[in-house]
């Protein structure tokens, strides 16, 4: 569990200074703060995440970038037992969110925001697979990279960045952080590839699994309705509302990228996600749900209002009391990108990608295929299946 959170800003005369901290007695010396800023600046000065040890302290921090005025750094002081990389997704997200809103916040509001960010970070446990995927769909550039680029062919990380930036007109601040959720969720593998002319292509990104995100009716809650475990006054109305939403308001086959982005962004918030997990299994009053999700009741109220606006939940009144039910759940389908075999063949023939890169991609796809289809992975079996794939696309294997 983190010990404290400190927001620093850069003063050209006095160096790194503390802007806010929580808890209020959190301690970070000027020398430590200077070291944090210096480490970020030496690393290129771009916005980004860093973990480091200063003496006995373990620290993770996110820097706004040298070009930003004022330069800020959100620092989390960790417990000795913590794994810093567990913060690699959540801290950049929290920090960017904070940096973008600070200029319109008053001091009290900012202090409350810092407290909430800290409370949220305290619940940091290793990200679930679902949360990892939320990180991909919450970011329009990551969504774009997945749905427009990586499904077409392998790219070097640098070229992927260049093409995504050029085509979207937006900037990827740190490409290593950008690609991390893809790697951690097992959608891509990033490797160097040696080509026939002896040169090495650095950091080639291979898609080995594809993923889509969509809304689904809340299965468990509908089951509870069947079992008669919902207050009778709301059961009928609830089923009607779910049916209406999925027949009139939501089309799973339409382009839902904006909807996915809003939902994924929202559920990046740890407290919101905890509430979702509770809502998938329970119907109840706000205080009961908050208790089950281990979050403050006021925070739960705020999150539930926002969930209602996102068409995720509905409120129902029963005997003067407000009940909350999940109206639409979100889910992911992760699948083998079989379509890539044909595409890779075409790209090689058209000279768009080197044969060695295509060969390596097929090897990786072959391994993934066998893992997904339960074929025993022995060297012989792997090689045989890869050879078959190579044959299918007209490439000779070595």
């Amino acid at each position: 569990m983190p010990k404290a959170i400190v927001l620093l800003y850069w003063d050209p005369v006095e160096g790194a200074r503390i802007e806010y901290k929580y808890p209020i007695d959190a301690d970070l010396s000027r020398a430590e703060a200077m070291k944090i800023f210096t480490s970020h600046a030496i690393g290129g000065g771009t916005a980004g995440f860093m973990s480091m040890s200063i003496g006995d302290r373990r620290i993770v921090s996110y820097f706004s970038g040298i070009e930003v005025e004022p330069q800020r750094c959100l620092v989390v002081l960790l417990d000795e037992a913590e794994e810093p990389l567990e913060y690699a997704e959540i801290l950049p997200q929290s920090a960017e969110n904070l940096f973008s809103q600070l200029s319109i916040m008053g001091r009290d509001e900012a202090e409350e925001f810092i407290r909430k960010t800290f409370e949220e970070l305290k619940t940091t446990t290793p990200l679930t697979y679902e949360q990892m995927l939320f990180h991909i769909f919450a970011d329009p550039l990551r969504q774009y990279a997945l749905t427009k680029k990586l499904i077409e062919r392998p790219y070097t990380l640098k070229r992927l960045q260049e093409e995504v930036e050029f085509e979207t007109g937006r900037t990827i601040d740190n490409v290593n952080i950008f690609i991390r959720p893809f790697k951690r969720s097992g959608l891509v593998i990033v490797e160097d590839v040696r080509t026939q002319d002896g040169s090495i292509l650095k950091d080639v990104v291979f898609l080995i699994q594809d993923a889509i995100m969509y809304r689904v009716p809340p299965a468990r809650i509908l089951e509870l309705v069947e079992l008669g475990e919902l207050p009778s006054q709301i059961s009928k109305q609830y089923v009607e509302d779910v049916r209406n939403f999925f027949t009139r308001s939501y089309d799973p086959f339409a382009d839902n990228s904006e909807d996915n982005e809003s939902l994924a962004k929202f559920f990046l918030n740890r407290m919101a996600y905890q509430l979702l997990l509770v809502l998938r299994e329970n119907v109840g009053k706000v205080d009961e749900l908050a208790e089950k999700a281990h979050i403050d009741e006021n925070d739960a109220k705020d999150l539930l209002r926002r969930m209602e606006l996102l068409d995720v939940i509905s409120f129902y009144e029963v005997d003067g009391e407000e009940y909350v039910t999940l109206k639409s759940d979100v889910t992911f389908k992760v699948f083998f990108p079989e379509y890539l075999v044909d595409k890779l063949q075409r790209r090689v023939i058209e000279g768009e990608i080197p044969r060695d890169v295509a060969r390596r991609h097929l090897e990786l796809l072959g391994e993934m295929y066998m893992r997904l289809h339960g074929i025993r992975i022995t060297p012989t079996a792997s090689i045989r299946r890869i050879r078959e794939l190579f044959k299918e696309i007209g490439l000779e294997s070595e």
Partner: protein, 288 residues
């Protein structure tokens, strides 16, 4: 540049501190009166009227108003006013007598809003920057060379006490930045140098290092053409050391001979700093 600070309530101006010769009290007090009456919340805000940036906040029936020249950054001015607000509330708890409170607040103002004089110690690795800093602070010089890995920022109130004429400018704080001189940090020197009033360029007085330092001086002139630069030709005790006059000739600025490991040089260095700081202060007081 810092121009004026006002603390006022509905009965009028309680504290006025002028930092320039311009007569700004009357017009800004009028603006303050209007803000006291019209401003509805307690947030800290900035607005520009004519060439004056006015940053203000309301606290406990009072208005804190800071006037500065328009080129100052809103962010840094607002931070200063926020700190003043905190100081106000802290002193309010301590002082029950209004007279005592206003006097205490008046005394505390400069420490918060007057930006210290920034001195940057610049030079290549191993020339003695950290040793000079330790000497200035009256600390024991390091026995062995340990590269500085991040700029150390040291406040020098106690070391400079009595060496700077402060009567007309309030309590002048001085901060000295000891730059990390190693190769990998050089790209950051430009960034660290921003906001400096004085650069102390340190060379170890060997021919090779003086020539490299000349190149560094050219860079400093490019980055900050108006900054005051003084040079220390350090390690004068070593046999290969060039004389300060020779170093001056190569660099094109006066180089003061120093031996940073010799405590007797402390007062010589403090005297040089005193004179340089006084000349900087004559140009006006910064506030952000």
């Amino acid at each position: 540049m810092l121009l004026i600070l006002l603390l006022m309530n509905e009965n009028g101006v309680k504290i006025a501190k002028n930092y320039t010769e311009h007569q700004l009290l009357f017009p800004l007090a009028k603006i303050g009166e209007a803000l006291l009456e019209l401003e509805t919340d307690n947030e800290t805000k900035s607005t520009t009227i004519a060439n004056i940036k006015i940053t203000y906040t309301k606290v406990d029936g009072h208005l804190i108003l800071l006037g500065a020249s328009r080129e100052e950054s809103d962010f840094h001015l607002q931070k200063r006013v926020d700190e003043l607000k905190e100081k106000f509330l802290e002193l309010k708890k301590k002082c029950t007598d209004p007279k005592e409170f206003y006097a205490a607040f008046r005394n505390a103002v400069d420490e918060v809003i007057v930006t210290p004089v920034k001195i940057s110690l610049v030079g290549y690795g191993g020339v003695g920057k950290t040793t000079i800093l330790k000497l200035i602070r009256g600390e024991t010089p390091p026995k062995e060379y340990k590269p500085t890995l991040a700029p150390e920022v040291a406040t020098l109130e106690s070391a400079m006490e009595g060496t700077v004429e402060t009567a007309s400018v309030g309590n002048v704080r001085v901060v000295v930045w000891d730059f990390a001189g190693q190769e990998q940090f050089r790209a950051l020197w430009n960034l660290w140098m921003r906001g400096s009033d004085i650069v102390i360029l340190v060379t170890d007085s060997t021919y090779e290092n003086v020539m490299k330092t000349k190149f560094l001086l050219d860079l400093i002139r490019e980055w900050a053409p108006h900054i005051k630069v003084i040079a220390f030709a350090n390690k004068q005790d070593l046999p290969e050391a060039m004389k300060p006059e020779e170093v001056s000739e190569i660099l094109g600025i006066k180089a003061h001979g120093t031996i940073a490991i010799d405590p007797s040089y402390r007062f010589i260095i403090l005297d040089i700093l005193k004179k340089t700081i006084e000349s900087v202060l004559r140009e006006g007081i910064k506030c952000a």
